[in-house]
């Protein structure tokens, strides 16, 4: 492994372990527990600089060698994979059976383990749900090296606590994922995107509400505003049987107005995160338009170029800023965006930013239920050795 990967967001890992089996992962974690070493788990390392940098990384635990698709039972629409499998390779393998895992790869090169650990869902979440909704079973090696399971191989299962929900989006702070089981979906026969440029936030609000309130059953409803005060593109994905997609595209096209165009290819910005500085913004669905307005105003005040896009149909947006954006102005933008999200019933999390920006604002912002989260961390990782400091509240 190259030494720049062993550098985690400015923190140098003292050692890199690249175990080839679950047993070896457990062995590494047992050793770390014995010697009180801090451990930062990683897959392909594409999102290692997300969240906060770890306080310490005695061991970078690279699970990219665990890259097997262990079991794909097409008849049951279920797949069991190791964490190092890349989402893109898994898609190729599943496509052979005309199936797919309905999670979009919004960061190229992402592994399954990384996607689960960052709870990173893309446009398809509107219809298919998020990572946590599709994850039905998980194996995690605990901080003390114990190998543990939750869930299973069947979609319908309420036996015991569903710990998969907790590990999803935990940034490696509760343990190391060594296996994940997902429910799959059939690849639809046809797909179409209906795309329209709209002049302002109000028009977007009307269009989004019209599509959601119709019965077309869109798979995704995304917006993109590459310049803070510019027009906003709305794109709606429809999937199904060919005649159905044709009829539904026409219906959506009518809802979006005369400028709408229908095609069988996604717009270039589809399923691509803006950045490299990334801010995740959430809102109640109906309050996306005021949030967009707030972001436009905040960009104007801070004189920053802000690229906003995301899943307007579920109320999740991402704002991207240039790598060299002024840290002080960026910090002010984050705080303003956070206030607008709060007013819209949501949150703003700085997923990725240079140290100079993070020094000015808390990346995670206010978190409800933090004391319960601390107690949870204390139970799973009493010495706070797993990805220490990367997660909310310094966990």
């Amino acid at each position: 492994m190259s030494s720049d990967i062993a550098l985690i967001d400015g923190v140098q890992a003292a050692a890199v372990a690249r175990p080839g089996s679950q047993d070896a992962v457990a062995e590494v974690l047992r050793t770390a527990a014995r010697d009180k070493l801090t451990v930062v788990p990683c897959g392909a390392g594409t999102k290692l600089d997300w969240g906060c940098p770890p306080r310490s990384a005695d061991i970078l635990l690279d699970v990219s060698a665990l890259d097997a698709v262990v079991e794909h039972v097409a008849g049951d629409l279920v797949v069991r994979v190791q964490p190092g499998v890349r989402l893109s390779s898994l898609a190729v393998e599943l496509a052979r059976a005309n199936q797919r895992l309905a999670i979009d790869g919004v960061v190229p090169g992402s592994t399954v383990g990384g996607i689960v650990s960052t709870a990173l869902s893309g446009p398809s979440r509107l219809l298919y749900g998020t990572v946590r909704d599709l994850l039905i079973g998980i194996t995690v090696v605990r901080a003390d090296g114990a190998v543990t399971h939750s869930g299973g191989k069947v979609v319908k299962n309420v036996a015991g606590y569903d710990l998969g929900k907790l590990y999803t989006g935990a940034y490696g702070s509760l343990g190391v994922i060594t296996e994940a089981i997902f429910r799959l979906h059939p690849v639809p026969e046809a797909a179409a995107w209906v795309v329209a440029d709209l002049p302002d936030e109000r028009a977007v609000g009307t269009a989004v509400a019209a599509v959601l309130d119709s019965q077309v059953m869109a798979s995704a409803l995304e917006i993109c505003r590459p310049a803070p005060a510019g027009p906003i593109t709305v794109a709606v994905l429809l999937e199904g049987v060919a005649p159905g997609v044709k009829a539904r595209s026409a219906a959506v096209s009518a809802l979006l107005g005369s400028g709408a165009a229908t095609g069988d290819e996604a717009p270039s910005w589809w399923s691509v995160l803006p950045g490299p500085i990334i801010l995740k913004l959430t809102a109640e669905i109906a309050l996306v338009p005021p949030l967009l307005r707030g972001l436009r105003e905040a960009a104007a005040v801070t004189r920053l170029a802000v690229d906003v896009r995301g899943s307007a149909g579920v109320g999740v947006l991402f704002a991207g800023l240039a790598a060299d954006a002024d840290p002080e102005a960026t910090g002010r933008f984050v705080l303003a965006a956070r206030a607008h999200c709060r007013d819209a019933g949501g949150f703003a999390v700085l997923l990725r930013a240079p140290a100079a920006v993070r020094a000015r604002v808390d990346a995670w912002g206010p978190v409800a239920g933090l004391s319960l989260m601390r107690r949870l961390k204390d139970e799973f990782d009493p010495d706070h050795r797993m990805a220490p400091g990367r997660f909310v509240g310094g966990l």
């Binding site: 039972v73 008849g75 049951d76 279920v78 005309n98 709870a119 749900g129 998020t130 946590r132 114990a146 190998v147 543990t148 399971h149 939750s150 299973g152 191989k153 069947v154 319908k156 299962n157 309420v158 036996a159 015991g160 606590y161 569903d162 710990l163 929900k165 907790l166 999803t168 989006g169 059939p186 026969e189 509400a209 019965q215 059953m217 199904g240 049987v241 159905g244 539904r248 995740k280 959430t282 109640e284 109906a286 309050l287 579920v314 109320g315 999740v316 819209a344 949150f347 999390v349 995670w364 978190v367 409800a368 933090l370 004391s371 319960l372 949870l376 139970e379 799973f380 997660f391 909310v392």
Partner: protein, 492 residues
């Protein structure tokens, strides 16, 4: 704690709570308490020391705080329709019934959400949303009486969860009175709150991590078209192959339900649903969505059924006929009472592809032991509901039925499935958990419990066969844990 001391503690609690909740909201009368001795699983009965009916979150919090102060365990209960004894009371504890909290606060169409009290009846949410063209998707068979709070505790499913998922996929927020007596908001109308997904862990925790006092649920736009068919087959094997063909063709129906001959016989006796005569199995297949999709796919589904031996297919011409198809299925559990004095409702899951093989083995088991088993199940996701029939008046039959019922769960585990798909573990299946999970797995799950409820007062004794004493380092034995000394927990 001795029985006398326990009842003394409960009486003292009653005195403390009456001024807070009002005299009608605190029950101590023995005969009244007995009304609450069981939930939908009547084999387990325990009379609670005290029953209270909070009307607000603040009252609920006051009850929990009083319980903490007194060191008294408590159990939450909604409508009491659960089938695993999840709301089984404690004789030394308080039963907190949320049925009086039944306001639908908001049907927020613009945000596709409803905000409701925990005691609101599941079907009522859909009824209130219907005029706006929306509905609440999770539809357990008990939806006319079960409560949203109970659904949250059990992560309830229903016939349509094959396509739409379970309660956990439809709850975006819960206000919770946590076992430390705090009120915590998990999630809300917006999604993706930062931090650990406490809400995801809370839904389905069977009332062991706290009591929800307000729930925000997703409302779905009602589908443009719904098509339902009833197909009759000579055998469950044929029906099973038809299901495989449908799913294999990339169709995701809203529901696929199967009943075998004995279940059909029971349903006919109870509700005269008029299913085709001579059927060894019937399938109900429902498709919903945009009309242009449903029409096309429904034709394909009918063809799959015919190709795999359906000798009669009926298509519901209108909602009345659709309701009739469903009537037989939804009444099946109770209907079995017509053909057997007693029965056990089992709930297990197998990978769908193992269905024909597992059904054959259940039939063999039934033959060997001389115990009749009627099969009703969600065929699309492999969730079996075998109904094990017996007559408690005949000595030994109850035990025999229990054995067969347990052996069916063993089959589920053998085929890589689960001991419960939707009814929960509760009091009923805690003893089966070690067959599905290792000791370390169960220990890890209980870490979550310890984070929420270190004192072990919130619905103790459910889910886990052996309570983990919080703060205990695994594998190291110290002197008796304070909970053991206090009589609140036992080490097995």
């Amino acid at each position: 704690m001795s029985a006398a001391a326990a009842s003394g503690a409960a009486l003292a609690l009653a005195e403390r709570l009456r001024p807070l909740l009002g005299p009608d909201a605190v029950l101590t009368d023995r005969a009244q308490l007995r009304t609450y001795e069981c939930d939908g699983l009547a084999q387990f009965r325990v009379t609670p020391a005290l029953v209270v009916f909070p009307r607000t979150a603040a009252q609920c919090q006051a009850v929990v705080r009083a319980c903490i102060d007194a060191g008294v365990p408590y159990v939450a209960r909604g409508s009491g329709t659960g089938l695993s004894g999840g709301a089984l009371p404690r004789s030394d504890g308080v039963l907190i019934v949320t049925a009086q909290m039944r306001t639908i606060h908001q049907i927020d169409v613009a945000n596709q959400r409803a905000v409701v009290d925990p005691g609101v009846i599941n079907l009522q949410v859909t009824r209130d949303a219907t005029p706006h063209g929306y509905y609440y998707a999770p539809d357990p068979s008990s939806q006319q009486i079960c409560s949203i709070g109970g659904n949250v505790a059990e992560n309830s499913g229903g016939a349509h969860c094959l396509k739409y998922g379970f309660t956990v996929n439809h709850v975006t927020g819960c206000e919770v009175v946590t076992p430390d007596g705090e009120i915590v908001q998990m999630g809300g109308k917006a999604v993706d709150s930062p931090g650990y997904d406490l809400l995801g862990a809370f839904v389905g925790s069977e009332g062991t991590l706290g009591i929800t006092t307000r729930v925000t649920v997703r409302l779905l736009r009602a589908p443009e078209a719904v098509q339902t068919l009833l197909a009759a087959f000579h055998s469950t094997d044929d029906a099973g192959t038809a299901v495989s063909a449908i799913i294999g063709a990339g169709v995701l129906p809203a529901a696929v339900e199967m009943m075998d001959a004995l279940a059909i016989e029971a349903a006919e006796a109870a509700v005269a649903c008029g299913y085709p005569e001579g059927a060894g199995a019937v399938l109900i297949v429902e498709l919903d969505g945009p009309a242009a999709e449903v029409d096309h796919t429904f034709a394909a589904v009918q063809k799959h059924c015919r190709d795999h031996g359906a000798f009669e297919i009926r298509v519901a011409a209108d909602p009345v006929q659709r309701a009739l198809f469903w009537k037989g299925r939804k009444s099946a559990f109770a209907a079995v009472g017509r053909i057997s004095p007693d029965y056990i409702v089992q709930d297990g899951v197998i990978p769908r592809t193992a269905l024909p093989e597992v059904l054959r083995r259940i039939a063999a088991l039934s033959g060997e032991r001389g115990v009749r088993v009627a099969n009703v199940f969600h065929a699309g996701d492999g969730n079996l509901h075998p109904l094990v029939l017996f007559d408690d008046a005949i000595e030994g039959q109850g035990e025999q039925a229990e054995e067969v019922s347990g052996a069916i769960l063993d089959l589920c585990i053998e085929y890589g499935g689960s001991i419960t798909g939707e009814h929960g573990v509760g009091s009923d299946k805690a003893k089966y958990m070690p067959r599905m999970f290792t000791e370390v797995d169960l220990d890890t799950m209980q870490m979550l419990r310890c984070a929420f409820d270190p004192a072990g007062l919130c619905n103790p004794g459910k889910i886990f066969p052996t309570p983990r004493l919080c703060g205990e380092v695994p594998g190291r034995h110290k002197e008796a844990h304070p909970l053991v000394q206090a009589g609140v927990a036992d080490v097995f």
